[in-house]
Amino acid sequence: MDMKADRKLSLKDRYRHLTRGLGWETSYQKMDDVFPYDKYEGIKIHDWDKWEDPFRLTMDAYWKYQAEKERKLYAVLDAFVQSNGHLNVTDARYINAIKLFFCAFPPLEYMAHRGFSMAGRQFRGVGTRVACQMQSIDEIRHMQTQMHTASNYNRYYNGIHAMIHQLPRIWYMSVPKSFFDDAITAGPFEWMVAIGFSFEYVLTNLVFVPFMSGAAFNGDLGTMTFGFSAQSDEARHMTLGLECIKFMLEQDPANVPIVQRWIDKWTWRGVRVLALVGMMMDYMLPKRIMSWQEAWEIYFEQNGGALFKDLARYGIKIPDCVEQATLEKEHISHQLWAGIYQWNFGTALHAWIPGDDELDWLSAKYPNSFDKYYRPRLEAWREMAKDGKRFMNTGLAMNCQVCQYPTIFTEPGDPSTLCHRELDYKGEKYHFCSDHCKTIFEHEPEKYVQSWLPMPQLYQGTCGGGGVQEWMDWVHLVPGQDNMDFEGSQDQRNFALWKGLASSNK
């Protein structure tokens, strides 16, 4: 019998079959029943075929490229581990920047994975679903590769051992956790604006560059190699976020105000979360890359400014909150480090007062704010520590109902006054750090009345049931080991000891 070999599919046809070809118009179930969640947010899509694939990958090409990157990444991580690469960091204080990154980010990557997996099911446009599914796999890859990198540091340094346990318990993790909880409980379109666009496009450089450059500048090969390995994934994420925005805005003018509100909300929520990055850049990198203010000016004011000029043709304008974020660029990193320093008994990382050369760097980078508002605090605390009265704030702090930070931020234009906003809803009072968090609450109060706020919860007795010692047991924080000053810590002693052992024959 004659076997007739069919011609191989052309690249174009192959691509079409492996992406668009995976979807179909359902015949015995209604499309609305198969995709019940892509209309309720009010976004109108008239023609899903107008979706333009932001990147052209079939799954087998995806696996091939990703597998190559994995081989390279794990080869470097193996070498890093085998050579005690952790001893090459500039200064063991840097490892606390790592603790911040690796305790906060892997859980966020995991939530991003779940959120894109959900979006990859909920959109009726098959091109969109395929792109979301690939991003979902990227995000769990990032979680895994970060955990592998963190694992080596966890072997030698304190504070990382309970990161998963601490995610829903320790007070500062509420900030990034509530960010993703808010996004993943929104609908698929808001998810895309929150994470795909605002986080992965508008703000991504303000996370990625500081942490990865911070790693490179401070001798952290492990984290740096994770960063390089994630870069091409992030490039795809940026294009997906941007395509989503353009698609929504082009499909119907009625979508514009909905998208605008989401951009406003998520730019603000992102700016608040990024205070953690700003603090890291200004206070926790022994070898600093640039100041938070400089990063904001380059990556938001300039790059973001250009982006919003582009989006203006759709009727999108720069979010209102950008004015306040720009005013605050000279303040938030200092305000947050002051918080970490005074509540250091409750953190799984060490703190310290910057050295004189570091204080001078901060003065030079922040000529309008540092010497007036922040140097006096740090110098006063240094004196107190010398006198054996290390400053500690043993009171519990108020939390913002939306961003869940302790309300450490000041009135725009008045850095000497803490900012306070308040409203009543259904007979209960709610408090906020800013007008912008209050506005977010006002739009969807039934969501934010449910915030699990760390300090009110502690008083309810849900966090160990007692005082500070019970709380520490409950969050698996080991006092005298995970917390308090870097000076005198086990991390400091060990690093010095091991470095000494690595470079002498004693």
Binding site: K372, P445, Y459
Partner: protein, 123 residues
């Protein structure tokens, strides 16, 4: 609808007064003393005398500040938070939290005369 949802959705507030075992939450901020990074949150019995809130709860946590020892509580001036902004408020130091009209999650701010924090910058 007060949340974007596929059907009517009512959230359950987590911090209602019933969750505090007969107590209530009270926020107190020492104005222009930013050495303390955020306002304090206290849990108080409604029948606690207001002056005792200050001497037994507030004073210990602000004690590390050089200005703290100089405070004479009865000379302090107060504002109370509200939906329309903070308004001047006169406490009755001898009466209880409840008798002073302080409901659950009330926010207060105070100043002590002549005490303006460190470095002329409200630290």
């Amino acid at each position: 609808m007060s949340v974007t949802a596929i059907r009517e959705y009512i959230g359950e507030p987590r911090d209602v007064v019933a969750n505090y075992h007969g107590n209530q939450l009270l926020y107190i901020c020492w104005d222009r003393h930013l050495m303390f990074a955020a306002p304090f949150i206290f849990m108080v019995p409604p029948d606690m005398k207001f002056e005792e809130v200050l001497t037994q709860l507030v004073a210990p946590v602000i004690q590390p500040h050089p200005d703290a020892a100089k405070i004479e509580w009865r000379t302090t001036s107060w504002e109370r938070g509200g939906a329309l902004g903070d308004v001047p408020w006169q406490p009755d130091f001898d009466r209880s939290v409840a008798e002073n009209g302080l409901v659950h999650k009330t926010w207060l701010r105070f100043r002590a005369p002549g005490l303006d924090g460190l470095a002329g910058a409200g630290i």
